[in-house]
Symmetry: C2
C-alpha cells in the first residue's frame, strides 16, 4: 500500500488485534478473486499515475476544475486504449479516477439507452461511433419544470411527413431540458425525450437521438441553445460535471433517429407497435439501479473507512494506558459507526445479489416470461431508495464522527457527501420510489388468498396467516442471533404494516384518495419491506460457505449489527405491530452492544478489507498509516490564503479599521 512509504504505521497495534484473514475478506468484499484482482490493479494504476494526482479540487475555480477534469478524462481514455482494457477494467479505472464527468453519462446512460431502445439497425449505426467516442452523448429527459413525472414532459417531437423528419421543439421556458450531465459543454449528441406527435395526435413520450453540436467546431447546431446550469453543492464535487440546459427551436432530425425498438413511426407517419414487448425497457432500469446500489456500498464504505481509522487515532478524555481514550472505544461512537460499517457490507451483498437478479430478469425477458418483472422492479426501486438514503445520511454521520476535523476539505468527507447526495434524487426521487413499492405491496396484499403464487422477495407474504399472529420466541439476548428469529420479526413487521395500510385504505370510497391521504404510512410500510430484503439477503449469504479464517464470524457479527440496529431505529414499528415485546427489544439491545465489542478489535481490518488506496480516499484523516496530524498540518499551508502572511485586502479593509478611531459608535 503506497501509504506506508513514510515509515511508521500508527495503526499497527490495531492491525495486530485482527481475528480474521483480511486478504480473504478483501476477496469477499470484491465479490471474487478475479474482481479483486482487477479492482486492485486499476486502483494502483490510477494511484501511481501522476496525471491522476488529486489536485486540491476544493480550491479550484469552476473553469479550472472543469478543464482539469477534461484533462483527466482524456488521459483515462488514452490509457484505456493503450492498455487495451476490457469494459469492466475501463469502468473501474474511471471509478478510481474519481471525478464526475461527461463520460459517466456517455457510458452509463447514452449507450445503454440506444442499446435498450434502439432497433438493431440503429444500434449498428450509432454504437460503434459511441464506443470509439467519435460522438459523445448524454441522456436528456428532465426539464426545468418536469422531473419525476416523465409523462408531463413538454418537449415535442412532431412528425413532418413532407420531409420525413421530426421537429424537436421547446414550446415554453419550463420545457427546457435541465440537468442532463455532460450536456452543458461536451456532448455532441443526446437521447432526448419528447412527446411524439404525428398527424396532430399525441403518442406519449419517446426517445430521439439528436445531434447538438457540430463535429467540426463544437458549436451548437442551428436552433439549439445549450449551456451549463451553474454551480452545484460543494467545492469540487459534482462541479466537474457540465449538467446542462438545452432549448430547441424547431430542430429537424431524420425520422430514423427516433429510437424505434418498441414503437415505430412509418414513412407515412403511422404509429406502429413493434413485436418487441415494452417491458424490455424495465430490464435497463433494473440494471441501472443495481449499479446505484453497488455505488452506495462504495461511497458508504469509503466514508466509514475514513471515520473508523480516524476514530482509532483520535483520543479524547479518559485514560488508556496513561493516554487519552481512543474515541472508537466510546460506545456512542461505536453505536453510530458500526451500524454504518455493517450497512456498507450489507449493501455490497445486496448489490451482488441484484447482479444475479438482473441476469435472471434478462433471461426471463428473452424467454418472454414477464411474471417476475413487477416484483423485480419494485424490489430494485425500493433498494435504490433505501441504500442511497442511508448512504447519504451515513456519510454525513461519518463526517460528524470526526469532530471538527471532518469539516475540513482535507478530511475528504465534505466532497464525498456533496458528490453523493444527488443519488437520493436522480434515477427516481427516493420518496416517489418508495410510493411505487407501496403500490406494489398494496396490490400484493389485495390479492392474498387469491391463490396467486408469490415468488422472490414477496414470497413471505404467502405465509400471511402465520405471520399475522406469530410470536417472537426470544427469551435471552443470544436468541437474537438465530437467523430465523430475526427474519420472522422483520417479515411479521413488514407484512403487518402493509396489512394495516391496506385495511385503512379499504375505508376510503375512492382508493386513490385513500392512497394520497395515507402516503406517509405507505412509505413506511415500503421501507420496512426493503429493510427486510436487505436483512434476508445478508442472512442468506451467511448460509453459504465463505473461505478465510474468521471471515464468516466477522460477517455474522456485522449481519447481527445491521439487523438489530435497524430494529432499534424502527422499534416503534416492531412494538406497535406486536411483533416483539419491550423485553425482547431490550434483549436485542444487549446483544447489539456485545456485537459492538466483538467487532471493535477487528474494526480497522474490516475497513482495510475495502482495499482503498490513500489516493482514492484523499483524506488526511483516513490515511492507511494513521499518521493524521502532520498531514493535516501540511495540507493547511497549501491554501491560497497562505500564499502571503498579510492577506490581500489588509490595506483596504483591515488597516483602516484598526487605525481609524471611529468616534460615533454607540456600542
Amino acid at each position: 500500500m503506497e501509504a506506508l512509504e513514510g515509515g511508521a504505521d500508527y495503526l499497527a497495534d490495531e492491525r495486530k488485534k485482527t481475528q480474521f484473514d483480511v486478504d480473504a475478506m478483501k476477496i469477499f468484499w470484491a465479490g471474487g478473486r478475479h474482481e479483486f484482482q482487477i479492482a486492485d490493479r486499476m486502483a494502483r494504476l490510477v494511484a501511481s499515475d501522476p496525471e491522476f494526482k488529486k489536485d486540491h479540487r476544493a480550491m479550484l475555480g469552476r473553469k479550472e476544475l472543469f478543464k482539469n477534469t477534461l484533462r483527466k478524462t482524456a488521459h483515462a481514455w488514452k490509457r484505456i486504449n493503450e492498455l487495451r482494457l476490457t469494459e469492466e477494467e475501463a469502468s473501474l479505472l474511471r471509478f478510481f479516477v474519481d471525478e464526475p464527468a461527461f463520460t459517466d453519462l456517455h457510458w452509463g446512460m447514452f449507450i445503454p439507452a440506444i442499446k435498450g431502445q434502439g432497433t438493431e439497425e440503429q444500434q449498428k449505426k450509432w454504437l460503434p461511433m459511441a464506443y470509439r467516442m467519435q460522438i459523445i452523448g448524454c441522456y436528456a429527459q428532465t426539464e426545468l419544470g418536469h422531473g419525476s413525472n416523465v409523462q408531463g414532459l413538454e418537449t415535442t417531437a412532431t412528425f413532418d411527413p413532407e420531409t420525413d423528419e421530426f421537429i424537436i421543439n421547446s414550446p415554453t421556458l419550463t420545457s427546457c431540458k435541465w440537468w442532463p450531465g455532460g450536456l452543458g459543454k461536451v456532448s455532441t449528441h443526446a437521447v432526448v425525450y419528447a412527446r411524439l406527435i404525428t398527424d396532430g395526435e399525441e403518442h406519449g413520450v419517446h426517445g430521439f437521438i439528436v445531434q447538438l453540436r457540430s463535429l467540426d467546431d463544437h458549436l451548437p447546431l442551428p436552433g439549439i441553445t445549450v449551456g451549463d446550469i451553474g454551480m452545484k453543492f460543494g467545492n469540487g464535487a459534482y462541479n466537474s460535471m457540465d449538467n446542462g440546459v438545452l432549448r430547441f427551436d424547431h430542430v429537424r432530425i431524420p425520422r430514423d433517429q427516433m429510437l424505434m425498438r418498441v414503437l415505430q413511426v412509418t414513412r407515412e407517419g403511422k404509429v406502429v407497435q413493434s413485436n418487441i414487448p415494452r417491458q424490455l425497457i424495465y430490464g435497463t432500469m433494473v440494471y441501472v439501479r443495481q449499479v446505484i446500489v453497488y455505488d452506495a456500498s462504495r461511497a458508504l464504505s469509503r466514508a466509514v473507512c475514513i471515520a473508523t481509522r480516524y476514530s482509532a487515532v483520535r483520543r479524547q478524555f479518559g485514560s488508556q494506558n496513561g493516554r487519552e481514550t481512543q474515541v472508537i472505544d466510546y460506545k456512542t461512537q461505536q453505536s453510530r459507526l458500526f451500524p454504518l460499517l455493517a450497512s456498507a457490507y450489507a449493501f455490497r451483498i445486496v448489490a451482488n445479489w441484484l447482479t444475479w437478479l438482473y441476469k435472471d430478469v434478462t433471461e426471463r425477458l428473452q424467454a418472454k416470461d414477464f411474471s417476475t418483472l413487477p416484483e423485480a422492479h419494485a424490489c430494485t426501486a425500493g433498494l435504490k431508495s433505501l441504500t442511497t438514503s442511508v448512504t447519504a445520511d451515513g456519510i454525513e454521520e461519518c463526517r460528524k464522527l470526526c469532530g471538527g476535523h471532518g469539516y475540513l476539505c482535507s478530511s475528504g468527507l465534505p466532497e464525498l457527501f456533496a458528490v453523493y447526495v444527488p443519488a437520493c434524487t436522480y434515477e427516481g426521487d427516493n420518496i416517489v420510489l418508495l410510493l411505487q413499492v407501496a403500490r406494489f405491496l398494496m396490490k400484493t396484499v389485495a390479492e392474498l388468498g387469491s391463490g396467486k403464487q408469490l415468488a422472490g422477495t414477496i414470497a413471505y407474504m404467502g405465509r400471511a396467516e402465520h405471520l399475522m399472529q406469530s410470536c417472537c420466541s426470544v427469551q435471552k439476548a443470544e436468541d437474537w442471533s438465530n437467523p430465523d428469529v430475526i427474519v420472522e420479526a422483520f417479515e411479521a413487521r413488514s407484512l403487518r404494516m402493509s396489512v394495516t395500510c391496506a385495511k385503512s385504505l379499504s375505508q376510503f370510497s375512492n382508493p386513490e384518495e385513500g392512497f394520497q391521504e395515507l402516503q406517509a404510512d405507505l412509505a413506511g410500510a415500503a421501507l420496512a419491506h426493503c429493510q427486510l430484503i436487505v436483512v434476508s439477503k445478508f442472512l442468506e449469504k451467511m448460509q453459504e460457505d465463505i473461505p478465510g479464517e474468521g471471515v464468516k464470524q466477522q460477517l455474522q457479527a456485522l449481519c447481527g449489527i445491521y439487523a438489530l440496529s435497524v430494529l432499534k431505529k424502527h422499534l416503534g414499528d416492531f412494538l406497535s405491530t406486536g411483533c416483539i415485546s419491550p423485553t425482547q427489544a431490550s434483549l436485542a439491545n444487549d446483544l447489539l452492544r456485545s456485537l459492538f465489542s466483538q467487532v471493535r478489535p477487528n474494526a480497522i481490518a474490516l475497513v482495510d478489507a475495502f482495499n482503498y488506496t490513500d489516493h482514492f480516499l484523499a483524506s488526511a484523516l483516513g490515511r492507511y498509516d494513521g499518521n493524521v496530524y502532520p498531514k493535516l498540518y501540511e495540507e493547511a499551508w497549501k491554501d491560497p490564503l497562505n500564499e502571503s502572511v498579510v492577506p490581500d485586502g489588509y490595506h483596504e479593509y483591515i488597516r483602516p479599521m484598526l487605525k481609524q478611531q471611529l468616534r460615533s459608535s454607540r456600542l
Copy 2:
C-alpha cells in the same frame, strides 16, 4: 417586500387562503414589536445597500471570497458607526449581511471572554480598544490534537518570575492551536487557553490575552507562526472565515495578560484563588448556547421558508384543476416539511425562554445563589445539542424536498447546510453534550426520594412515583390535543428512560465503567429529556395570551405537530416504556395527519411570518413571489463556464478524442 418588484405574485392564491393575521405572527416570531421593527429595518438596510449585494459566493475562489468578505465587513462597520447603531442593531445588521467573518468571533467570543474572565482592570484596559476595533481578537482554545477535552490542551504558559512574564509555548505539533475563527489572517490578538505552570507546578488550563500581529504592519510577532487551516465544507459557506493555525515558540507576555478574574498569579508566582466564584464562567456558557439555539431557529426557518414556497410552486403528477398537483399537497411532502416548520417555531420559543433563563441565572449568580446552575447548565447543553442536530438534518431534508433543483447553489440550500453543520460540533460536540446531560440526569435520579427540591426543567422528576405508573388516557384522536396528556406522556417517557438507565448502571460495580458501557442508552435518555423541555416550553407559551386573529390557533397546530411528530419518530421509546399503547400511537398519527391539513392552507403565510427578504434568502426557489423558473434560468447563465460556448479545454482534450479513431480499444 422588494421581491414584488417584478410584478405578478405567483403565490397570491396561496396567500389568499391564510386564516390568521400574518403581521401579528411576524411580531410573535420576532419576539415583540420592538424586536420586529429593528430586525425589519436592519434587513431592509442590508438588502437595499449595493455594497451588500450577494455576489455569487459559490463561484469565487478562496482569495476572492475572503477579500470580498473583508470588504463587506469593513462596510458594515462603517455603516454601524455612521448610523450610530446600538449593539442589538449592529448584531442584526451583521446577521443579515450573512457572511461568516472574523467579526463573529471578535464580538461573540473574544469580547465576552474578557468580560467574563477578566478583572475589572483588565476589562477597562482591553474592552474599549476592542469595542472600537483598534484591536481584533479571536478565541483560541482548540488544538490540532485536542478539542472536546479542554483539560487535555498542551499549550503551556509558564511563569517567569525574573521578568514577570508568561512564556507561551507549543511544545508539540498537536499542541498547535487549530480552528479558531478569525485567527488565520485577521486577528491581532487572541484569548489563548494554556496550561498554567508556575514554579514547576501545573495549575490547570486558563485564558491569556496574547498579541499575535504587529499593529503597524500586521506581521506576526516574533515566535508566532500563524496561518489559515484551509478549505472547509462547501462553496462559499464558511470559507469566508479564516479559521487558523497558531504555533508559539516561547512567546513572552506580561503577567497582567492572564485573565485573572477567578485565579490570580502574583508577582512572586503564587497562585491565588480570587473571591469571585468559578461558577461565574458558566453564566457565559449559558449565554453562548442561548445564542446558538436562537441561531438554530433562524437557520431552520430559512430553509423551511425556501422549501415551503417552492413546494407550493412545484407541480408533479396528478391533477388539480387541470394542472399537475402542487407537491406541497402530497402527504409525504407534508410529513417531512411541516414537522420542520413546527420545529422552527418551537426552537424560537425555546430560545426566547433561554433569554429569560440567562437573565435569571445571572441575577442569581450576582446574589451568590448557585443552586440552579447545574440544571441551567444541563438544560442549555442539551438544548444546544438537540436544536443544532435537528436543524442540520432539517436543512438537508429541505434541500431534498426541493428535488433536483435543491442541489443547485442558486437554491441557496447547499450553502446554508454547509455553513450551518459545524454548529453540531463547535461549542461542544453534540454527543459529548448529551452525555453531560445524562450525567446530570443520573445524579438527579440517584437523589430521588432524598427530599431534595427539584426545580426548573427537572421538577417533573419530583413526581416520579406518579409518572412511573401513570397511564395515558387517550381514547380518541382529539384527546391528543390536550396539553396535559402530551406533557405527561413526554414526562413519563423521559423519566422512565432515565430510571431504566439508572437501574442498569447500578448493576455495575464500577459506576464509571457502567456509564461507558451504557453511553448510547444514556444519550437516548438525555435526548428524551431535552425533547420534553421543548414540548413543555411550547405548551407553556400556549397558555399565554397571544395577540392577532388566528395566531394562537396556528401556533397550537404547530405545537401539536411538533409534539406528535417527535412522538412518532421516537415511538419505540414511548411504547417500550409503556407510556402509551399501540392504539394510542395510531390515534396520535391520525391527529397528526389532520393537523397537517389544518396547517396546509396557512403554510405560505407561516413562512412569510419569518419576514425574510429575498436578499437574505438568496434562493431562486424561495422567492417571495414564487416566480422560480425564470430566475433559475437567469442564474444558470452567470456561471463562468458559460462565458464561452465552446469550453476551455476543447481543443486539447475533447477534439482529439472525437477526431482520433483510437484503434486498439477492446471495448
